[in-house]
Amino acid sequence: MTNILIVDDSRTSRRHLRTLLEEEGLNVCGEAVNGEEGYQEYKKLSPDLVTLDITMPVLDGLEALKKIKTDFPNANVIMVSAAGQKNKLVEAVKLGASDFITKPFEKENLMTTIKRVLAI
């Protein structure tokens, strides 16, 4: 089973994303509400994939991405952003993010992205 970690400060976003993933038979193994917590959860859970929101308190998505990719270069990371964060997404790809999805979530796009990243 594919295990996914959701890192997003918004409860609404986490809830929407979890629902969409579970409807597709994917397992959400954990949730974190900021980048630092996300990094710690990643170390603990070793998920197949992590979704990282860009705008978060404490440690934002880009900083969390740097920490995760430094310690786990093969980590599969999908960035989550609102529209209008193109510059940050470009930076994220340079830092090693595999792909990105945009809020509000759309199931078909979400699943296409996940399948492409995990090659499943």
């Binding site: 400060d9 918004s10 409860r11 609404t12 976003s13 809830r15 929407h16 705008t55 978060m56 308190p57 952003s81 609102a82 529209a83 209008g84 964060q85 193109k86 510059n87 940050k88 945009t102 809020k103 509000p104 759309e106 078909e108 796009n109």
Partner: protein, 296 residues
């Protein structure tokens, strides 16, 4: 859209009951089919193409027809034809009033003149309201001096998203500039970069907005409900930032802030825009610059 404004005026005057108003709107909604659905049923677009345009609408602040033309799925002429088939919202509302025996055409004409005087609308402005086109309607309500063109664009964007994501019967009222505002609760997100901008939603309709956008029941306005409203704010601000980036302006969105207790904001020029959502008041607050005080 015209019916929401003129309908409220008629209800306030006791000329139209809420039940009859709801009936007319329900009939109008049945008559007015969404453009995507019409394009598919008329074999002008495939379902996949229509879905793609619906998805793009969440990323780009553009209308269905404009995006479909951009993608080459529809021509300008086809969009024009579909708009015609959708029907004129003004005529549909008037038809509802007369067919139900609520007002005669002469009475409607008379009330319309009184409404125009009351609102101080020119003939062109009344025509804009009758058009049902939100891009023509919003400017009628953001005429207060001191509202920049950029702020006007932002307000129009929020109004379009209110229609798209929250309540397609939303109405906007006259925006005003205030120097302080006290809210029972508030969902806030600031943007910083080439300029600083505070954005916030508050008002009695926060719960209804949260229920709709969060697709979840909330019994009260708590952090979870405000979180859902913050996500809607974030969606609007993302589209606004996207528009700015096309003009080479750089702006970043900061993490949202939620106030579950009374909060007071003081500043020189706060733009306060009232909306009615599901019959309740929502205020959009915009404050350009970081020279504000906020206490909760």
């Amino acid at each position: 859209m015209f019916g929401f404004y003129f309908g409220k005026y008629l209800r306030d005057k006791g000329l139209l009951t809420q039940d009859k108003y709801d009936e007319i709107l329900a009939e109008m909604n049945t008559a007015r089919v969404k453009m995507g659905l019409m394009a598919v049923t008329e074999n002008l677009m495939t379902t996949k193409q229509a879905d793609e345009i619906n998805r793009l609408q969440a990323l780009k602040d553009k209308r269905f027809g404009d995006l479909a033309v951009e993608k080459g799925y529809l021509t300008d002429e086809q969009v024009g034809g579909l708009l015609k088939k959708q029907g004129d919202p003004y005529l549909l509302f008037v038809q509802g009033l007369t067919e139900k025996g609520i007002l005669t055409l002469d009475e409607i004409d008379n009330e319309l003149k009184l409404y125009q005087q009351e609102q101080n609308f020119s003939e062109d402005e009344l025509a804009a309201l009758k058009s049902g086109d939100i891009d023509r309607i919003v400017p009628l309500f953001i005429k207060a001096p001191g509202i920049s063109d950029l702020a006007k664009e932002h307000i129009a964007l929020v109004a379009r998203n209110m229609v798209r994501f929250i309540d397609n019967t939303v109405t906007i009222a006259a925006a005003e500039i205030v120097s302080d505002y006290e809210a029972e609760y508030m969902a806030r997100q600031d943007l910083e970069g080439d300029f600083y901008l505070l954005t916030a939603f508050c008002g009695d309709g926060i719960k209804e907005m949260a229920v709709k956008y969060g697709n979840e029941e909330f019994s009260q306005v708590d952090e979870d409900a405000l979180d859902a409203v913050c996500e809607f704010l974030n969606c609007n601000n993302g589209l606004f930032a996207s528009k700015l980036s096309e003009e080479d302006k750089v702006i970043d969105m900061l993490p949202p802030l939620m106030y579950v207790n009374p909060v007071k904001i003081r500043a020189n020029q706060i733009i306060k825009i009232p909306f009615i959502v599901f019959g309740k008041q929502i205020y959009l607050l915009l404050k350009y610059g970081n020279d504000f005080e906020i206490n909760s």
